[in-house]
């Protein structure tokens, strides 16, 4: 269809001009045809009014035979009129509209630019530049019922000063069509936005639940929440229920916390939420976040009350866990609108974020469980390695010592224990018997035990073992063996202190046996004193009075100040039994929560003292097991029996 505004010029060149009625008819046909075309456009999926507004303007100007004009679209959140289509094509800034001007604009069907009503004079002053350039004569407010949608500004009418009545009726129809197009566009934009949000909610929720790394899950939760809510910022803070604290886990953008004032910045942001942390009811972002955790309900904070994120419009929802605990809170900030303005979060936004937070809770817990399972698998593998190490440290068989019987028993609590015993043949024909209890379990304990054993063997291969000098002289300062053993203990202490981490140490009891003289020289480093049971049934605790502190607990210079390692000796005779043990024996608990204790150990040892070493070992083990009954075993159980034939 020809554009009648253009055909006017062409008509001037034609020899036979059209009559007014013919022109009017042609304009009407053109207008109807174009309106049909626009109707098709409207339902074809092209929904952007700003884009189609040029066509609407072209139809309006063509139908009414006007050369210049503009369509302005009203943005309620920005409270201005945006010039979306203009002829001639030129860029104009938006025209602000005051609320009372809106009311006035809704009251008029047409407004003459030259004689605006009093209530709109200021508005017309603000739009003067546009009116001057376009030479606007007539304004037509666009509205549907009481909703103001925009305006049409029409320039000089061709060959007439005013519009005829039928032209005004046509203009009213066109304005109504344009209003419908704007409203439809708004509605479709809203539907598209909701469609996008619902799709993203449906799409993102299963995705985040599949993320296995907690850090990645946290990042995606925040990013998806920001995108879903058209926000500009977001953060995830997780609760530490024991500490009653909220701690920043992830924030977007990275610069979000740079504007944080009055508290820690970066990922160190911590907010205590326990009842006694703060009882202030003042509306601040910090108090809002606290109440979201404690009450388990969504919260809002206006920009003027946000002291945490630099004055943002905030919305926060709790993230529920499976067991009803609040895992943390999800925060979004500054919902944006087209044009860059910030708007308030709506009730629908709260529902959307709340729904997403439920999925986020599943995602966070899934990632945590996966992490825990990984750590458990890693620990299991580590324990298996440690068990292999430890298996090599505990002797499979004990040696035959001339004139003596030796028997050992080791029963770890878990796959890897912390006990150690050994019986080492020395180059000098002497024997070294050691028992130790390393603190902790697992790989660290096994490595500490390996270090202790390696150090012990190394030291025993170096020392002179006091050959020929230990027999008679019992004065510590004059007994070279005492000094050697004490030096060895200091070396082992230094070794363990240097290699062990904090809280890693070993109780240790060393016995140096000379089978020729039957002298047993001993040193105790914080271990349970072994029990010496004589043939006649009397007994004594070895190393009870001269014990030093466990190995590896303090550096050597402190050991010297606290309790130096001292050796002593005892003369063994036929039938004597030495029972070495770890605290797993005496601290075995029965179903009534009673300890096995030293007293029962003495009693059981005396009862079986006349058996051979293996028999004593079996009897003592049985006595402990009988006492334990159905109760759980809490610690490694280790026995080393030395019996003088």
């Amino acid at each position: 269809m020809k554009d009648p505004s253009k055909s006017l010029g062409a008509n001037l060149q034609t020899p036979k001009p059209q009559s007014t009625a013919e022109q009017t008819m042609e304009r009407l046909i053109f207008s109807l045809s174009e309106l049909e075309h626009l109707g098709q456009t409207l339902i074809s999926g092209h929904t952007n009014f700003n884009h189609s507004s040029k066509t609407y303007l072209r139809i309006t100007l063509g139908t009414l035979q006007i050369r210049r004009g503009a369509i302005l679209r009203y943005h309620p959140t920005q409270q201005n009129l945006d010039v979306v289509a203009v002829t001639p094509d030129e860029v104009f800034p938006p025209v602000p509209v005051e609320p009372d001007e809106l009311t006035a604009l809704l009251q008029h069907a047409f407004i003459e630019n030259a004689t605006p009503p009093e209530s709109l004079k200021q508005f017309f002053e603000r739009s003067a530049k546009l009116a001057d350039v376009i030479d606007i004569r007539l304004w037509v407010p666009l509205k549907i019922q009481d909703e103001f949608l925009g305006m049409i500004g029409l320039g000089k009418f061709l060959a007439r000063d005013t519009l005829e009545a039928w032209e005004k009726e046509l203009l009213t129809t066109l304005a109504h069509q344009i209003s419908i197009a704007i409203a439809y566009s708004q509605m479709v934009e809203g539907i598209q936005s909701e469609k996008f949000r619902l799709f993203m909610l449906a799409e993102s929720a299963p995705q985040i639940c599949q993320l296995l790394q907690p850090e990645e899950a946290a990042e995606q939760v925040v990013h998806q929440a920001v995108s879903l809510l058209d926000a500009n910022a977001g953060a995830l803070m997780l609760t530490n229920i024991d500490q009653q604290e909220l701690k920043m886990n992830y924030a977007f953008p990275e610069t979000l916390l740079e504007r944080t004032t009055g508290t820690d910045s970066g990922n160190g942001l911590v907010i205590p939420y326990s009842e006694d942390a703060s009882t202030s009811q003042e509306l601040t972002s910090k108090n809002v976040l606290k109440s979201v955790v404690t009450e388990g309900l969504p919260g809002h904070c206006p920009p003027e009350s946000d002291t945490l994120f630099g004055g943002r419009n905030l919305m926060a929802v709790p993230i529920p866990g499976r067991d009803g605990d609040v895992l943390g809170i999800l925060i979004v900030g500054d919902k944006e609108e087209r044009g860059g303005s910030i708007t308030a979060f709506t009730d629908e936004d709260v529902i959307l974020l709340d729904s997403f937070a439920k999925q986020a809770g599943v995602a966070i817990e899934n990632a945590r469980l996966h992490q825990e399972a990984l750590e458990a698998r890693q620990l299991q593998a580590e324990m298996e390695e440690a068990r292999k190490i430890q298996e090599n440290l505990i002797p499979d068989m004990l040696p035959d010592i001339p004139g003596y019987e030796v028997a050992g028993h080791y029963e770890p609590r878990g796959p890897v224990g912390g006990d150690y015993y050994d019986c080492i043949a020395l180059p000098t024909g002497r024997w070294g018997l050691a028992i130790a209890d390393v603190s902790g379990k697992g790989m660290q304990a096994a490595l500490l035990m390996a270090t202790l054993r390696a150090g012990l063997i190394s030291e025993l291969s170096r020392v002179r073992n006091g050959v020929g000098e230990e027999a008679d002289d019992t004065t510590p300062t004059h007994n070279p063996l005492y000094a050697e053993i004490a030096d060895m203990a200091m070396t082992l202490n230094s070794l363990l202190y240097a290699s062990g981490t904090e809280e890693k140490y070993a109780t240790f009891f060393y016995s140096h046996l000379n089978p020729e003289t039957d002298i047993l020289t001993t040193l105790n480093a914080g271990h349970n004193p072994p029990l010496l049971v004589r043939k006649d049934g009397t007994y004594k605790w070895l190393g009870e009075d001269v014990g030093g502190i466990p190995l590896g607990m303090f550096p050597n210079d402190m050991v010297t100040n606290i309790a130096e390692y001292e050796a002593e000796h005892v003369q063994l005779i036929s039938g004597d039994v030495v029972v070495y043990y770890t605290d797993g024996v005496t601290e075995t608990v029965n179903v009534e929560d009673d300890y096995y204790d030293e007293e029962r150990l003495v009693e059981a040892s005396i009862a079986c003292k006349d058996e051979d070493a293996e028999g004593i070992r079996a009897s003592l083990h049985k006595a402990v097991m009988d006492f334990q009954g159905e109760a759980d075993q809490f610690d490694d159980l280790t026995l080393l029996i030395l019996r003088k034939k």
Partner: protein, 114 residues
């Protein structure tokens, strides 16, 4: 990557590539829209938008992309997207962007199919 906010233009003989980096929201979207408008006005009606460095888009970003598609349609131009994540590709299909613009895995194939 999301914290970086950038637009790069690569103009070819008959086409142009716009590469965005960062969160495609109103701010980045307006910049993208402005660049696309300039390119179209300068006669580039064969456009590729590379979103490889834009992993996050909100509904305003989507509406701006729709506007660019409509502006190109008016000039009978073509728009291809590339560098989309799997989620973005599904989103574009669901939001009908894929009906009016091509989606390709990389810039090379997106240019080749203009």
């Amino acid at each position: 990557m999301l914290n970086k906010f950038d637009i790069q233009i690569r103009e070819g003989q008959e086409h142009a590539v716009i590469e965005t980096a960062g969160y495609l929201n109103d701010a980045l979207g307006e910049q993208l829209s402005e660049k696309a408008r300039e390119l179209i006005q300068n006669g580039h009606t064969q456009l590729v938008i590379n979103l490889e460095k834009t992993t996050l888009i909100n509904s305003i970003g989507i509406s701006i992309l729709i506007e660019i598609i409509e502006a190109l349609e008016e000039r009978e131009g073509t728009l291809n997207f590339c560098g989309l994540s799997a989620t973005q590709e599904r989103t574009f299909k669901m939001m009908a962007l894929a009906k009016y613009a091509g989606i390709f895995p990389d810039e090379e194939s997106a240019i080749a199919n203009l």
